[in-house]
Point group: C2
Chain length 405, copies 2
């Protein structure tokens, strides 16, 4: 079929990742190769920049600049938390039409896929040929259909390296340590902490994810058991853990009721959950040294820790978005299919299969009884996270005591 | 003079660093070259392992194992928070003597230097020839005499890379962000956040260190000024900031009164200070999005982020400790003298010049008026921290508006 000629717009939405700009750059460099794409514009601050007509002409960025931006964490075109409704999407369509935009790429999570879906409906109703492709990204790894999401591997690498260091630190000065990891509904990112374990007694010894009810009594019993066995205990917990009634644990402990545009309680950017869990352990068990850290924003945008596989895949989903849109009159979300151990291919899935609803960890990844993560998860996630820096313990014989007091 | 023949003991004390094992390995590999050092023992858990006679014979560790341990963060021989008094030091001496130890190396901060000093006094009183050398390490960079401390550069690299990512994140989704950095009395580590600034409007925009009184009113005025100018604000603050009366700010806000063996209030491993400062901004200024992270233990033991210069220097201070002790009948603390830009030499300074008291940032490093850090500090710290990963902004022309609504 005939290619349609016009402009392209690309935007980035939601929380940034370490490799989201790889997708941006992959799409832009690919788009610049096609005569049917007259210009590729970048919208500043996501969909907000579209309705405000705030575009940069990325056809006129240098290749070196784009390559450098590709290696830069966090959304290079800046982001937004706006969640467009029907009216907002109509405005988006109006601007795209005014600028003779025929290709629209939106890089984000399931909310962004939903925006794509509505904008696409607007175009179809108006009989205006607009090709809309959603480019997946999220550190939460919670998009449906795709095997995994670009951005997850790099955040997982950060979390793994953080817990590896924490485990070594906790081993040298023992106590209980609780690390709070991002993840409102999905525990994938928290689960990556398991890659910090090298020696059998390494932490994290306990991992709690939002998919299973968090029970205070079991938590205390778990910590007590590990501490008795190892004289120390490292815990990884998702910020979104909730009780059997589905209420976030952080809400039960704190007065924090700040909600975002999506009606969600603020979980990140506060130490409340970690502090509350530490207080619980101090109160219930006679353990003096209890420490907690909330990894917060460090884990999604830290400069210099990206998984190479994740970076390459992020680049490729951007490229594929443009390829799919140019060669066929299709709309959809780019998804990753795992074809081997480890190899992937990319395909386009209908927008409605990705929009709105999120994915949780399957049961086979969670070891509920031991509050841990299974080997099945390790097999799934290891290739995406890639090699971690090695660490070693001293191996030397014990010296015989002389005084033996 | 004649070399003295006997065993050597090495131990690590206090909080770990990313490169403390480089010093351990530097000392061990060097000690294994000298016939006068019959064995080199490593004490488990610092001085605690000495009085408990818990030694590993590091003469019998493989070189590969030691080299791998050198690249491993956190104390490979494990650590202790014990602060030996006269009686404790007498016990240390008793054990060293029983094992015919003639060389004692202790890697740590100013408390460890003080332990060295007292053990040395015991040996002298007993007429027992014991050569005691303190090997400096601390992420706080607060040891006297030495130009800087091994461990500081790597922690500074982590803090710089963290703030670089945070700045990019904050730029993509604007608001106020407060990052709490380790540092009870010295602001060196917090000051390294300044290396995250590349473009003129980059954060951190405000930096608060313990050396200058933290004034709540000025803090609020500062944040308001930056937020008005840039529409966002990134703040770096030391955990130990205190008011004009010298009271830690965290104590004023929280009920946390846990104290360590040194009588210090717990500052790390809790999100209390950050949460309190965030609440202050939300309460006093009409800024909706205020987030805070407490970097906590991540900054001192993160796996995979070490400054190469820092790692090399840490290795060398360990080597030099052994060299000094073997060739001359001296006791002291290994110190670094900066001889060029950038070159160093190592020397031995008397134990009492390093023991007990700590060093603060000089006034010329602190820009009190602008709540920032000076170029003098950048010149001082940049070679130690080394190159950071690059990041770039998109450079492309703005597209003319059509609808212009």
């Amino acid at each position: 079929m005939a290619k349609i000629t016009g402009k392209a717009v690309i935007a980035q939405g939601g929380g940034p990742t370490a490799v989201i700009n790889q997708s941006l750059v992959g799409a832009v460099l690919q788009a610049r190769k096609y005569a049917c794409i007259e210009n590729i514009y970048g919208a500043l601050h996501g969909v907000r920049g579209i309705i405000d007509e705030e575009f940069l002409d990325l056809s006129q960025a240098t290749t070196h600049n784009l390559e450098q931006v590709g290696m830069t964490p966090s959304s290079g075109m800046l982001s937004t938390r706006d969640k467009p409704d029907e009216e907002y999407c109509a405005k988006i369509f109006e601007v795209l039409k005014a600028h003779d935009v025929r290709y629209f790429y939106y890089c984000g999570g399931n909310d962004s896929a939903d925006t794509c879906r509505i904008v696409n409906e607007n175009a179809q109703k108006a009989g205006y040929e607009l090709r809309v492709v959603h480019i997946p990204k999220t550190i939460d790894n919670d998009l449906r259909v795709t095997d995994h999401c670009p951005g997850f591997g790099s955040a997982g690498k950060f979390v793994s390296q953080a817990f590896a260091g924490i485990n070594l630190d906790n081993r040298s000065i023992p106590g209980v340590y609780i690390g709070v990891v991002m993840g409102r509904d999905a525990g994938f990112l928290t689960a990556t902490s398991i890659f910090a374990k090298k020696y059998p007694d390494d932490g994290p010894h306990l991992v709690y994810v939002p998919e299973k009810p968090f029970d205070e009594e079991k938590f205390i019993t778990d910590v007590d058991r590990i501490y008795t066995e190892h004289g120390r205990c490292v815990v990884a917990v998702s910020e979104g853990v909730r009780n059997a009634e589905g209420e976030p644990i952080v809400s039960a402990f704190t007065k924090s009721q700040e909600k975002d545009a999506h009606g969600n309680v603020q979980l990140s950017g506060t130490g409340a959950l970690g502090d509350a869990l530490a207080a619980l352990i101090k109160g219930k068990l006679s353990i003096k040294r209890v420490r907690c850290d909330t990894f917060g924003y460090l884990q999604r945008s830290f400069l210099g820790v990206a998984s190479p596989i994740d970076a390459h895949e992020a680049r490729e989903v951007g490229e594929k978005a443009v390829q799919f849109s140019v060669w066929e009159n299709v709309d959809g979300s780019v998804a990753i299919r795992r074809t081997g151990d480890y190899s992937v291919e990319y395909f386009l899935t209908p927008l409605e299969t990705v929009a709105r609803h999120a994915k949780s960890m399957p049961d086979e990844f969670i070891d509920v009884e031991n509050s841990s993560i299974t080997t099945a998860f390790k097999n799934y996630a290891r290739p995406i996270i890639g090699d971690l820096p090695q660490y070693d313990r001293i191996s030397a014989p014990v010296v015989k005591k002389i005084l033996n007091k």
